[in-house]
């Protein structure tokens, strides 16, 4: 049947478009490990840059001075373990303990 003005074609196309609807049924997720392996073998590799390593923020510490302390072994051990657990260098460990004790910059306890 002829369609000189294209109306029939337009109807057919509209009907075809209407057939395509958003998905309602739950789709199964493909197994990524197997797909990635097959893709790798065919040269379809990851092109994304690895996540950038966050550099540890360095603090401005200014001039330094040496502090040598002779102390009982249990105190020594407590302090070393504390710094290890908190991942602090010794001087920052001392600073943290001073802060916890609320010792001011001039050396007085605040309360």
């Amino acid at each position: 049947m002829s369609d000189p003005f294209g109306f029939a074609t337009a109807n057919r196309v509209a009907a075809k478009i209407a057939e395509i609807r958003p998905e309602t049924e739950k789709t199964t997720e493909p197994s990524l490990a197997a797909i990635d392996k097959a893709a790798d073998q065919l040269g379809f590799r990851s092109r994304e840059a690895e996540e950038a390593k966050v550099m540890r923020r360095r603090r401005e510490v200014g001039a330094g001075a040496q502090l040598n302390v002779k102390c009982p072994i249990p105190v020594y051990n407590r302090f070393i373990r504390f710094c290890d657990q908190e991942r602090l260098p010794y001087w920052e460990g001392i600073e943290k303990l001073l802060d916890l004790a609320e010792v001011s910059q001039t050396g007085e306890r605040k309360r």
Binding site: I17, E19, L32, A34, A38, L42, F44
Partner: protein, 180 residues
């Protein structure tokens, strides 16, 4: 993504910054509410491509008339075949000739088309021609039907070509959905 920052009033929603780890979930989410979800991938062999293919209802492989493109397209077809076995379902695909001359079909285009036919690789009959209107869309950040015919050469022909391609595509999409 940049295109959507322009004045276009197209209702198409553009989602950028999709990564290998999010591509499948983004497709799943959009497919629940949208009639068409088009995943436009960079033309490189990447994990993003392979993951998107695994979740696709129809894969379109664009192909310019060159031997290099034909080889790249055949790699994509190889990947589709491999993934079909892994996920145990057919992944329908079509090759699409792009940037072809509207006036004449080159000897290379004909040779590639013949090679596809010989290998039973399905391709869309409509080609997307090389048209300045398609480039103007990205310069003016407008949809094809929003461009000014006075400012863009060959706009009518570009619209006709795009419409023909879209109709064929809708027809193929409906057919593969019916077959699924």
């Amino acid at each position: 993504m940049d295109w959507k920052t322009g004045p276009s009033t197209s209702t198409m929603r553009v989602i950028g910054d999709v990564t290998e780890s999010t591509v499948i979930s983004v497709i799943q989410k959009e497919a629940k509410t949208r009639q068409f979800v088009i995943v436009d991938l960079e033309g490189t062999a990447s994990r993003l491509v392979s993951r998107a293919i695994a979740r696709a209802s129809l894969v379109l492989i664009p192909l310019q008339g060159s031997a290099v493109d034909a080889r790249q397209a055949s790699r994509a077809v190889g990947l589709i075949r491999e993934e079909e076995e892994l996920i145990e379902r057919k992944i329908p695909f079509r090759l699409v000739f792009t940037r072809t001359s509207a006036a004449i079909q080159s000897r290379i285009d004909r040779k590639i088309a013949a090679s596809l036919q010989a290998a039973s690789i399905p391709a869309l009959a409509t080609h997307l021609h090389e048209r300045s209107a398609y480039k103007a869309m990205f310069v003016d950040k407008l949809a094809l039907d929003e461009l000014d015919p006075a400012a863009v050469n060959g706009l009518d022909a570009a619209r006709e070509n795009a419409m023909k391609l879209a109709l064929e595509l809708v027809s193929v999409a409906a057919d593969v959905k019916e077959a699924a």
